[in-house]
């Protein structure tokens, strides 16, 4: 399926974005599981303060600390951390200014929220800073704390601003720890150690947003990863069968014979319903194909994940991670 197999062996930070409703958090979780296969340690970060990871892995709300949420094949482990800008800010104040007790008073005043609000770039530096710190942890002694870090990032419409922290805080302090922090974050994010993946559905709006997002990321010099097509409706029907289905010209005698062999009574209602469903599917398939062609123009590696009729539970998540591995991940 995948002709442009991704080579992600050098990538340590996988940023996952996508339009709302495309399932980016599910894809991020499945990616973390896929990367953890073979005994690896992977950290999954979320930054939107909604405890999405806990819901996906069906656990109690996660604390602000790295905790184990799942095991992958061969002893791989996925850890998770819901990053909170306020907590990260307090960490910085303590680390660089020795403000500790004051920090709590500041929080009571709503001051932290205030500071991250009047300088929107500040919040992003704090959040991306956590990701780049996790990537770099242990690197100097040659034993990285995590083999890979997966960041469940803000949606496609905001991803470039979110990652391009240097530009965002350009109007802020010219020196000091936040500036140093931003430079260090950009050092990681702009390098070959990072890949930004965009999740989409094969529908007009998400595909358009993906194409726009890719162009923006490229213009900002950020490293592009894969386009992950989620919820693909597949079937083994060939082009000719799809054409006949769309024209409502599937041979009735073949349907009748097959249904009898399947021990299903080929009533007129059954034949009509199956023909209708086949026509629906053919229309979907045609739409999917035309959207897929638009995405193919981007030259990015493409991963496809199937639509799961039963919804997303833990077993389904492992299934998706397996589908990723089969398509050449982690490279």
């Amino acid at each position: 399926m995948n002709v442009r197999a991704p080579n992600w062996s050098r990538v340590r930070l996988h940023v996952v974005s996508g339009k709302g409703g495309t399932g980016k958090s599910t894809v991020a979780a499945a990616l973390a599981l896929a990367l953890a296969r073979g005994g690896k340690k992977v950290l999954l970060l979320e930054v939107e303060g909604r405890q999405g990871i806990a819901q996906i892995f069906d656990t109690a709300p996660l604390p602000y600390q790295e905790s184990k949420v799942a095991v992958a094949e061969d002893g791989g482990i996925v850890y998770a951390l819901p990053v909170d800008a306020e907590a990260a800010m307090l960490e910085y104040l303590e680390m660089f200014y020795g403000i500790k007790r004051g920090g709590y008073a500041l929080r009571r005043l709503g001051a932290i929220d205030f500071a991250t609000t009047i300088a929107p770039g500040l919040r992003d530096v704090l959040l991306t800073g956590k990701a780049s710190e996790a990537v770099k942890r242990g690197e100097k002694v040659g034993r990285p704390a995590y083999d890979a870090v997966v960041l469940d990032a803000p949606p496609t419409g905001r991803i470039t601003r979110f990652l391009n922290v240097n530009t965002e805080i350009a109007g802020l302090a010219k020196v000091g720890p936040i500036r140093t922090q931003a430079d260090s974050v950009m050092g990681v994010i702009r390098s070959a150690r990072t890949a930004v993946h965009l999740v989409t559905l094969l529908e007009e709006m998400p595909v358009q947003e993906t194409l726009d997002g890719l162009a923006e990321l490229r213009a900002a010099g950020l490293p592009l990863g894969a386009v992950v097509i989620n919820q693909v409706r597949g079937s083994q029907l060939d082009d000719e069968q799809l054409r006949l289905a769309a024209e409502r010209a599937l041979p009735e005698s073949v349907l009748k014979k097959g249904l009898r062999a399947a021990a299903i009574d080929p009533t007129a209602a059954t034949l009509r319903a199956l023909a209708d469903e086949a026509a629906d599917h053919a229309a979907r398939a045609a739409l999917q194909n035309s959207e897929r062609r638009r995405l193919a123009q981007t030259d990015q590696p493409i991963l496809e994940l199937p639509l799961l009729p039963g919804g997303i539970d833990l077993a389904a998540l492992y299934g998706l991670s397996e589908a990723m591995t089969e398509q050449g991940l982690p490279g």
Binding site: G21, Q55, L109, A119, G171, M205, A261, A273, L287
Partner: protein, 380 residues
């Protein structure tokens, strides 16, 4: 579990006592399409409608004749019955217009050029939501002033949480009018009033940490902005409160839009509770992208067992049976999720719209969605 009461869309659209319909819901559930389809249907049923969209897909916008984002309602041609105007919200421009309308040119210019204002008007979380409300207020005044709209349909910004829409005025209001910004904006005046020692100690600490972290220039910009903004509105919180209060007007109805997925329905559920606590009238839930069930008597398990019995033969039929089984399973999961919502909110009427195979990108498509919303059997 008892079935949800049916949401009668046509009765809602025909009710002359309803002047505003606000479509809310989390991102990616089809809010914009729903708002546009409702507006078109209402217009075709004889009402004079204006639809305020936030971020429509290009082809959907084009289908309504919206080729440019100029922040002004434009008539949609070819409507029989009543009339339809459509517009796309430009949040920065809306904010700019408010500033210009309330001040002399010189002061307006000073505000518009302030970097802090520019950041606030283009990227502050909640500005888009708040500006949608401001624009709604303007549209209402315009129609009271003789313009022909008797129904305004409002789409809301794409956010993770539907609650963002309701929280925006309070958030923006308390931010711009809060104790902290006031003290920071006028340190000399404010410091004297601060009696609590912890507070002033923390504040000094805060101001110094803040200027180290974000730079003194940002603080100065903010101080200038707040003092000139104050002169304009004499307190932004009051304005924000009024803007919010219009959502409680007796002619306003909320529609919560969701897809039959657990995330979207959880958001819808939060939103319904919130509307109740704010005494805002909820018209009902629109459930989009519902899997259509054809031939419910052929169960998923029978279809799957049949496909397996074919054992590699009869390829076409085996595939069709698998497709049918997938559809039945999807439908069963969605029904379960919708049932949980109705279990928690048994009095909320629901209108379901089946998933369409194609994207909507013309008036005909919108009409089909409108028919489905209204449960009109003349379609499909």
């Amino acid at each position: 579990m008892s079935a949800a009461p049916h949401l009668d869309i046509d009765a809602l659209l025909d009710d002359r006592g309803v002047g505003v319909i606000v479509c809310c819901g989390s991102g990616g559930v089809g809010k914009t399409t729903t708002a546009a389809a409702l507006a078109l249907r209402a217009a075709q049923r004889g009402r004079n409608v204006c639809v305020l969209t936030i971020d429509p897909a290009r082809r959907l916008a084009q289908s309504m004749g919206l080729t440019e984002l100029d922040n002004t309602p434009r008539p949609v041609p070819g409507i029989e019955g009543g009339s339809l105007s459509a517009m796309m919200l430009d949040m920065k421009r809306t904010f700019d217009e408010i500033v210009i309308a309330h001040s002399d040119p010189e002061r307006a210019e000073a505000i518009l050029e302030n970097p802090f204002y520019q950041a606030l008007s283009s990227s502050f979380a909640g500005t888009q939501e708040y500006m949608a409300m401001e624009k709604l207020g303007q549209l209402r005044q315009q129609s009271a002033g003789g313009d022909p709209w008797d129904l305004i349909v409002v789409d809301t910004p794409p956010s993770r949480s539907a609650l963002d829409f309701l929280d925006a005025p309070k958030r923006l209001g308390s931010f711009l009018d809060g104790r902290l910004i006031r003290v920071l904006a006028a340190p000399a005046r404010g410091a004297g009033r601060m009696s609590a020692r912890v507070f002033s100690a923390s504040l000094g600490l805060f101001t110094s940490a803040l200027s180290k972290v974000i730079g003194a220039q940002v603080l100065r910009d903010m101080q200038l902005f707040v003092s000139s903004f104050d002169a304009l509105f004499g307190g932004f919180r009051e304005r924000a409160d009024q803007t919010f209060a219009q959502l409680q007007a007796p002619d306003t109805r909320f529609l919560v839009v969701a897809a039959p997925e657990s995330d979207a329905l959880r958001e819808a559920s939060y939103f319904v509770q919130r509307l109740e606590s704010e005494s805002m009238p909820l018209a009902g839930l629109v459930l989009n992208r519902v899997q259509e069930v054809r031939l419910p008597e052929l169960t998923a398990s029978t279809a799957r067992a049949g496909a397996e019995r074919l054992n590699g033969e009869h390829h076409l039929v085996a595939e069709l049976l698998k497709l049918h089984a997938d559809r039945m399973e999807t439908a069963a999961r969605q029904e379960h999720l919708a049932g949980s919502f109705t279990g928690a909110h048994p009095r909320v009427p629901v209108a379901s719209v089946i998933a369409l195979a194609d994207d909507v990108h013309d008036l005909e498509g919108l009409q089909t969605v409108g028919n489905l919303l209204a449960g009109d059997p003349t379609t499909t």
